[in-house]
Amino acid sequence: MNRSEHKLCSFPKSLVRNQDLFAPAPFNAAESEKTGASNYSYWKSTLRTFFKSKAVVALVVLVCGIILMSFLYPVFSSVDPTKVSTDRQDWNLRPSLTHLFGTDGLGRDIFARAWYGCRNSFLLAFCIALSDVGIGMIMGALWGYNKKLDPIMIEIYNIMTNVPSTVYLVLLAYIMNTSYLTLFISMASRGWIVEARFFRNRILSIRDSEYNIASQCLGTPMRRIATRNIIPHIINLIIMEAALCIPYSIGSEVFLGFVGVGMPVDAITLGNMVNHGRGSFTLHPYQMLLPAAVLCIITVAFYVIGNKFADASDPRNHV
């Protein structure tokens, strides 16, 4: 049927418009290119999602506060955490204004010890996180880019992960004399391989992605492939893994202390304080409860921050 023959009886008068409007309009090429995509930026969205929760903001502030305080405490305060009192009066004091957390069996101020312990535990944990994630990432990159490493790395991975981590830590700590260094070595020697595998899988998928192949076609040198193509895509994983390393290494330290291969008795760490406090728990519960509380706040905070950051850095959650 031809259009002109079609009945237009139902054409309502209300659809009649000013005839001038039925003239051609100028074409604007720039206007036609206005896209549907919003001005989305990955990092902005990640941070916005991350800080959306008030609890996360509070935790981040808390953690920063604790870290700062633990490093600045020796500057503010002249209390010597190792000062042993010969006066029986100073032993096992309950928390009070002079000794906020009380004193231990030798009259040492637990509040001061807690900050020194925090600092030492943090330093240890940071070193471990740094080496686990750092070595793990480098080895993971080598592993991902070099197929020949496969058999060796897989075997190392199998051995390391087939043996329970605690048994491994216990054995190594047992073999070596306990000190900060040996604790670091025993934890760091295992942690990297797990991270390496994690990063290897990610790097492998980046290596085979089209944009990376495009770089290859353009002859981009390895150095710039690393800084431009790989690291920006895994930096979120690095942050997350490092954050999650911290509760793990603090927990391991407590565990090793418990088994009897932890830090030397005179070292002030949160793990040592908890383990010492445990012995006198029935008589002086605060000697364990307070350091344990500090320790739990730290581990939980890092755990939550790490996980929330992982969620926030996943583009699927950028709603």
Binding site: R3, A25, E33, S209, E210, Y211, I213, C217
Partner: protein
């Protein structure tokens, strides 16, 4: 800013004056009259009637209106195709029929009348359970992910029968086997116990269809059911859907972006753009007498309708953002022939015939004069195109020569040859297309040439007479990077998401320090951006902010800035929307002419290939089976696989599409046990793969 918006919103929701209300009511009555006037022309009664459906999504704290008042009727016993590009809302719209919107989406208005109930008001799961599967069933796009990988095929079909009809396991099993047979699965008893992993893509889609029809639904919604399949398999699955539709007298709602598929299956067609149905009519009316500028442009931009050597008609720009309120006709900004009113006011529905309507002001009696002028202009444009002469091979020198190229991969301990002894030449200035289905090894050839694969490649590739396979010196590599570049398939994956456009485009310049100073580099980037049709203000943005077509153009700019002589284009248009494809094809052709480039064009879509290539090579399972000049291949295909491939190509013409005969190719037909196949030049420039007996048969065929 926000406050203003809120005020505007409040204003729009204000109570209308009596006159305005009456006017609105009159318009609604008028539109609903046009929507229903096709009723007597349909095969059966109306089953489902959607009116003014609006769907909104919450995305990153912003509201997106995916469907902006879509109205459509589904009639019994017919196939209705909904056509549109990605983001047009075609898929979302049909999802509302089964209550399957994603969690952040909701129906914000309108009705969905089905069996006397308004499904738009359904809130409880129990209400949907009466509809889903039983009355309205759905088939998804990707057969690879639609089936549960850890349960047997049989279980997954029998489950539906048991669930809906309360049958025992044995009864359901018998019925399932019958169904499997019906959808064309051989040896259904044995297949019943198999897992999806043991089925090919096409077979899985048949199983998915079996699941969907297990309860004899009244409406079967097929959401791009063949997009993920190879052309030959696609044609078979379409045939299956058509025959099932006839047998069960179902209504089929077919969602697709592929006009060839529409021409094949549809009785009625609805065209969607930016969340609205802009045109509706019978398949013939849409293909032969489209009225909406978008539909017309879409049809004209198909490569099948192009003239070789000339620009394809292309739609400018990109689809609009659905985050913002759209004023007037959503297509107006991209429509070079738009009228002033298109920018002012949303057009209402105008009838064309009893069965055909479109949402464009052009159909208003007031636009009669302008419309006539447009028709005249169009006819002139069609007349004066003369196809370019075919590529002249006399005296042409080969730029790239591939000899006995094989590429091996290791997969779970086994090696297999992805590419097996492939030889061909690419002449300077031509476009050679490599056509084959997924997994045929076409991309692997491209990547082997680009030296992305090196260790597992054997054979020899020479470029300008120099060997480029094997170990190369740093200098030789640099030379290659400057002369050979690649364009990638997936515009989303091929740009580094964390880098700005400026870096992405200049990457090659940085690598070999191909600029004098920072100013020179910026100038170069701006020049190339302009060449690919983008403005220089884009340089400081990240790739997310661009649409697929724009990203693809950025990818092209990235390789062209190196000033190469030879480009490997790996399916550069297959991930793009129909309206964008023509832009990219034109750009590639323009670049070829201006910079005298040579292309290796890798594709699976023969229609585009025919338009752009001089030579076509057909590849099947790692073997080149045929290589010939473009028109020669279409005129005299020899290898049975080529013939099958050509027979399956969809045409955007319902008359051609409905009468086409599918040819099947079964590799088992070749008996290569004693007589080994070879690669033979059967006539000058026409190569084919076969053994002596086959070659003799091909020769006879050519003489006839």
């Amino acid at each position: 800013m926000k406050k203003n918006l809120k005020q505007a919103e409040a204003a729009s929701q204000q109570v209308l004056s009596p006159e305005e209300a009456a006017e609105k009511e009159a318009l609604r009555a008028y539109e609903s009259e046009i929507l229903t006037q096709s009723a007597p022309h349909h095969a059966g009664p109306c089953l489902l009637s959607a009116r003014d459906v609006t769907v909104k999504f919450n995305l990153r704290g912003k509201e997106l209106t995916a469907i902006r008042g879509a109205s459509l009727d589904v009639y019994e016993g017919e196939t209705l195709a909904i056509v549109g590009e990605s983001g047009s809302g075609k898929s979302v719209f049909t999802k509302t029929f089964v209550g399957m919107l994603d969690k952040n989406g909701r129906i914000d208005g309108g009705q969905l009348n089905f069996h006397g109930e308004d499904m738009a008001k359904y809130t409880k799961e129990a209400e949907w359970l009466k509809v889903r599967g039983k009355k309205i069933a759905m088939v998804f796009q990707d057969p690879m992910t639609s089936l549960n990988p850890v349960r047997t095929i049989g279980e997954q079909i029998a489950e539906v029968i048991m669930w809906h009809f309360g049958k025992t396991h044995d009864e359901a099993k018998a019925e399932t086997i019958e169904l499997l047979r019906k959808v064309g699965i051989h040896d259904p008893e044995a297949r019943y116990k198999q897992y999806p992993g043991e089925f090919s893509g096409g077979m899985r889609q048949r199983v998915v269809i079996a699941v969907a029809i297990a309860c004899r639904p009244e409406i079967l919604i097929c959401d791009e059911p063949t997009t993920a399949l190879d052309v030959t398999v696609q044609a078979q699955v379409l045939d299956l859907i058509k025959s099932l539709q006839k047998e069960y007298k179902m209504s089929v709602v077919f969602i697709t972006h592929d006009l060839g598929v529409v021409a094949n299956v549809a009785d009625w067609v609805a065209v969607m753009y930016a969340g609205k149905i802009v045109e509706y009519g019978t398949v013939h009316e849409i293909f032969k007498a489209a009225e909406h500028p978008y539909t017309k442009a879409l049809l004209r931009s198909l490569p099948q309708l192009g003239t070789k050597g000339h620009d394809l008609y292309s739609i400018q720009g990109t689809p609009p953002s659905l985050f913002k309120e759209i004023k007037g006709d959503a297509f107006a900004p991209r429509n070079a022939d738009a009228m002033k009113i298109d920018f002012e006011e949303e057009p209402p529905i105008f009838p064309v015939t009893d069965t055909h309507w479109a949402r464009t002001w052009l159909l208003s009696p007031q636009a009669e004069v302008y419309r006539a002028e447009l028709i005249k202009r169009e006819a002139e444009r069609m007349d004066n195109a003369v196809p370019e002469a075919p590529f002249n091979y006399n005296g042409a020198e080969p730029l790239l020569q591939v000899r006995d190229l094989s590429v091996q991969f290791k997969l779970s301990g086994k090696t297999f040859k992805a590419v097996d002894n492939v030889s061909f030449d690419i002449y300077k200035g031509e476009t050679l297309s490599l056509v084959g289905e997924s997994g045929s090894g076409k991309t692997t050839i491209g990547r082997a040439i680009m030296r992305i694969y090196t260790n597992n490649v054997s054979g020899k590739v020479t470029f300008k007479g120099d060997r480029i396979t094997g170990k190369l010196s740093r200098h030789e590599k640099k030379k290659l990077h400057m002369e050979m570049q690649m364009i990638f398939q997936d515009p989303m994956a091929s740009l580094n998401e964390r880098a700005k456009v400026d870096y992405i485009i200049s990457e090659g310049l940085y690598n070999y320090h191909l600029f004098e100073n920072e100013e020179d580099r910026v100038a170069k980037v701006e020049r190339i951006l302009e060449e690919v049709g983008l403005t220089s203000e884009f340089v400081s943005r990240f790739p997310h902010e661009f649409s697929g077509g724009q990203r693809q153009r950025i990818g092209i700019a990235r390789s062209l800035i190196m000033n190469p002589d030879f480009l490997v284009a790996d399916e550069p248009i297959s991930a793009l929307d129909v309206s964008i494809r023509a832009q990219v094809i034109n750009l590639l052709n323009k670049m070829k002419k201006e910079r005298s480039l040579t292309y290796l064009f890798i594709a699976h879509d023969l229609s585009a290939v025919r338009f752009i290539s001089d030579h076509i090579a057909v590849i099947h399972k790692g073997h080149l089976v045929e290589l010939a000049p473009c028109e020669e291949l279409f005129a005299h295909p020899l290898h049975p696989y080529t013939k099958a491939l050509l027979s399956a190509v969809p045409h955007p013409d319902p008359d051609v599409e409905r009468n086409k005969k599918l040819l099947h190719y079964d590799p088992a037909m070749h008996d290569y046990s004693t007589d080994k196949p070879v690669w033979v030049e059967i006539t000058p420039g026409h190569f084919v793969y076969g053994n002596d007996a086959e070659i003799r048969a091909y020769r006879r065929e050519l003489e006839l």
